[in-house]
């Protein structure tokens, strides 16, 4: 077992401890064990089916978009791919208002329907929850799948062209095996994200019928201060994550394309106009669905950006620092863990699990654990960093593990025969081959960390506020326009970080 693998296993153990200890701490502080109520089970049922449906739809809708983006070259393609990522990093409250602006009763869709005498569609209810979850997560699915398409070696596409493949043959022999290798993982990640959502589910769910497990946890904390119930529900959510992770791993098949020389080649198979039209429609619809709501809600904020007070810019700096630190830490950990995952499958399960961890249980548990030793408030920013690293790991691993597997299959024997190990291997083989997924992982982590509200609300003093927290404060003080301006700053920051990391990794590759 190499040093990298050992570090990876140690990192996975640390993550497992960070996930389980806080849960244990919350359970330890419980004052009673009443067990779960009937409405908790109802919440579990609702959580499960809406998450499965949301994840399924996100993945299905992302496939044509990712394929279109992967096989077409057009002006502004890079910008489209970048902007399509925006919903995923948007604060929930802004995204909800955006969806309402587009699909709500005074939105353009209801207006157009009204011209034809059709009643406006209602986005409140289960369909609203699913709509919002697809809006949030389809960008992630698209991005991960574009990575998958880019992972098909150019040599295979050339070979396919010389064999006279049409689009259907490509689908069968190249795209389908690629999708078999990555879709289960993508589905899993999105499924787990949707199981821990609650503010969206509540706001668009139309009321208490749309209660999720995470809301039940929140209620147990805030309303009943029933730590026992919160711990049971948190454990249930984690167990759900383990189950989902194990079953998705069983369904994943290696793609087996073999190595290539990273040539970018033309897609001879998809030149026909029907396919062109199909791809254009997919891209235009995706842009409309994902970008219009954001544009509509943020347009009024634009003129207020320059008038934002200094404190907002300080908060931006704090968010930037957290984002950069989180990106570095997460990618280092994820590299080691994906190396370890080659040998120990449980590492991947642990790494995926943190999405299923309730942020509230995590934050409260850490608070309880730290309280006897230090003042948790003084450690607010380091704790926010730690939690962000743990929460971003699954996304980084999702990008790195498949790439690491291919790397091992294609270059493992050559590396061994040359006795390349340790840092030499990392410098000559690992980093050059993994630069793209690693850059993607770093960018995604930075964007997520910049936009995360999460635990900062549990720990902060006013002078430690991050940008998302300031955004909520502005909204809570009736200052909607300034809140929108702050949201614009947040989007620029997050997407900017994402772009820089990705671009950096691409430029370095040429």
């Amino acid at each position: 077992m190499g040093r990298g693998t050992r570090i990876g296993i140690a990192a996975a153990l640390v993550v497992a401890v960070v996930l389980l200890l806080p849960l244990g701490a919350v359970a330890w502080r419980a004052e009673g064990w009443d067990g779960l109520t009937a409405s908790d089970w109802g919440a579990l049922r609702f959580t499960l089916w809406q998450a499965a449906l949301s994840a399924g739809l996100s993945v299905l809708l992302a496939i044509p978009v990712a394929r279109a983006l992967a096989r077409r070259r057009f002006a502004g393609r890079g910008a489209v791919i970048l902007l399509l990522g925006a919903p995923f990093i948007l604060p929930v409250i802004v995204a909800v208002l955006g969806l309402v602006a587009l699909f709500g009763r005074s939105g353009p869709i209801s207006l157009v329907l009204g011209w034809f005498g059709v009643d406006p569609v209602s986005i409140y209810g289960a369909q609203g929850v699913i709509l919002a979850h697809v809006f949030f997560n389809m960008p992630l699915a698209t991005r991960l799948m574009v990575q998958g398409w880019q992972g098909i070696p150019g040599e295979r596409i050339r070979l396919a062209a010389s064999l006279g493949f049409d689009a259907r043959d490509t689908r069968r022999f190249l795209e389908w095996p690629m999708l078999r290798a990555i879709v289960p993982g993508v589905f899993l990640v999105i499924f787990l994200i949707c199981t821990t959502s609650f503010a969206v589910a509540l706001a668009l769910g139309g009321g208490p019928r749309s209660t999720t497990v995470e809301l039940a946890i929140y209620q147990a904390f805030r309303f009943d201060f029933d730590l026992g119930r919160a711990a049971i529900l948190g454990a249930l959510q984690l167990a759900l994550g383990v189950g989902a992770a194990l079953s998705s791993l069983r369904m994943t098949l290696p793609s087996g394309f073999g190595a290539g020389q990273d040539r970018i080649v033309r897609r001879w198979d998809s030149a026909g106009w029907v396919l062109r039209l199909q791809d254009t429609v997919a891209i235009v619809l995706a842009c409309g669905f994902l970008l219009l709501p954001i544009g509509m809600i943020l347009a009024d904020g634009l003129s207020h950006v320059t008038a934002l007070p200094a404190s907002v810019w300080w908060a931006t700096l704090r968010s930037l620092a957290i984002a950069l630190a989180a990106a570095m830490l997460t990618v280092s950990l994820a590299l080691a863990m994906s190396l370890a995952a080659l040998r120990a499958g449980w590492v991947e399960v642990v790494g995926t699990l943190s999405i299923a961890a309730s942020p509230l249980v995590l934050g409260t548990g850490l608070y309880i654990l730290l309280l006897p030793w230090v003042n948790p408030i003084a450690l607010a920013l380091p704790i926010v960093l730690l939690v962000n690293v743990v929460l971003a790991l699954p996304f980084a691993l999702r990008a790195l593990i498949p790439a690491m597997r291919d790397l091992h299959a294609n270059y493992g024997r050559l590396s061994s025969s040359l006795s390349l190990t340790g840092f030499t291997w990392l410098r000559l083989v690992g980093l050059p081959r993994l630069r793209r997924p690693a850059g993607f992982a770093a960018g995604l982590t930075a964007a997520l960390a910049a936009g995360d509200l999460g635990v900062i609300a549990l720990f902060a003093t006013p002078d430690q506020a991050t940008l998302p927290l300031v955004l909520y404060q502005l909204m809570g003080a009736y200052r909607m326009e300034e809140a929108k301006a702050a949201a614009i700053v947040l989007i620029v920051l997050s997407l900017g970080l994402f772009w820089i990391f990705e671009k950096g990794s691409r430029d370095a590759a040429t």
């Binding site: 109802g42 309402v100 409140y124 509540l202 668009l204 139309g206 009321g207 805030r222 720990f459 909520y472």
Partner: protein, 326 residues
């Protein structure tokens, strides 16, 4: 003589060094944020003492209960009457020791743990350019056509949502669940907190939003927008009173007491109207900002005492859940 002067000077220095530790005030996030009343109150208080206030923000009650005797708080501000009983039950609070008289609130104050600092009626706020038939009673709201669209907050996650559930309980008594059922078709959605709901309202998604009678004051004063009004119901409006209390185990009892004594002074109270967009607990009406005179106010104020509210909490949430079809 010189020696005693030197000793006295030394002692004064030590004393001021000892008080240099800040007074830790736990407050809700909105209160201590740059756009809440907190910063102005901090400045006003610090002007009269060689001391410093440090706000710590977050969910007050869960944090206090997690920390127990170990809490770092000296003073807690922002607990409303519906939460007060559970805060009292933690046993962490000392009597407030403030002489409370001359309050400008519609309710008698007998609580000896918590000092009220601001209040407001819960109310449904609407846009006069969009809504013509405005209900004048709560019953009228229930009877309104179902295309009247309202947004409310969830009683399980939000203090204003809980206030609505208690408001309906005090108006409809045993028929509260039926009232929720009548209200259900008009409820567009239920949000986690006030900000989401109010945002949906200002974006035009709902005709009415659960907020406060004082909300229009922000639009009048800060935006010169006169189109937002609170619908006034004849049955009366539930009142939310926010309070402050001192922690018994504080290491700075004098300073904590000084802060509590400061709460009902004019310096503090005059910050509330435009800092918190709510009504001060004790302020000469002549000293209120002009815009507040334009607000519609109910004649009847409804309020459950903190122990009544605590006893009803589970019931009213169950009525909400059942009435909205869960």
């Amino acid at each position: 003589m010189k020696l005693t002067t030197a000793i006295a000077t030394g002692l004064t220095l030590i004393a001021s060094a000892a008080t240099a530790e800040p007074l830790t005030v736990y407050a809700p996030d909105y209160f201590a944020s740059e756009w809440g009343p907190g910063p102005a109150i901090k400045t006003a208080f610090e002007a009269d003492c060689a001391c410093e206030i440090e706000y710590v923000t977050g969910d007050l009650l869960p944090r206090l209960r997690l920390e127990g005797e170990r809490t770092g708080a000296d003073v807690v501000i922002g607990l409303n009457t519906d939460d007060a009983e559970r805060a009292r039950q933690t046993g962490l609070f000392a009597p407030h020791g403030v002489t409370i008289e001359g309050l400008t609130m519609p309710v008698d104050w007998t609580d000896d743990t918590f000092v009220p600092f601001n209040w407001g009626h819960t109310a449904f706020v609407y846009d006069t350019t969009k809504l013509d038939a405005v209900p004048t009673t709560f019953q009228g709201l229930l009877d309104a056509p179902d295309d009247l669209r309202i947004v409310i907050q969830d009683p399980r996650t939000s203090v204003s949502g809980l206030a609505l559930a208690l408001w309906m309980k005090s108006v409809f008594g045993d028929d509260t669940q039926a009232a929720w059922e009548a209200l259900a078709p008009k409820i567009v959605t239920v949000t986690r907190g006030w900000s989401e709901a109010y945002g949906m309202f200002t974006e035009g998604e709902a005709d009415m939003v659960l907020s406060y009678t004082t909300s229009p004051a922000y639009h009048i004063i800060a935006e010169e927008d006169l189109t937002k009004k609170a619908a006034i119901f004849d049955e009366g409006h539930y009142v939310m009173v926010e309070t402050a209390g001192q922690i018994a185990g504080t290491d700075q009892p004098e300073l904590a007491q000084a802060f509590l004594d400061f709460i009902l002074t004019e310096d503090f109270q005059s910050i509330i109207p435009e800092g918190n967009w709510s009504l001060p607990a004790k302020l000469d009406p002549a000293k209120m900002p002009e815009g507040f005179a334009m607000l519609d106010m109910p004649d009847t104020a409804l309020l459950f005492s903190s122990d009544e509210a605590e006893a009803l909490r589970d019931t009213v949430v169950a009525e909400f859940e059942a009435g909205l079809g869960r």
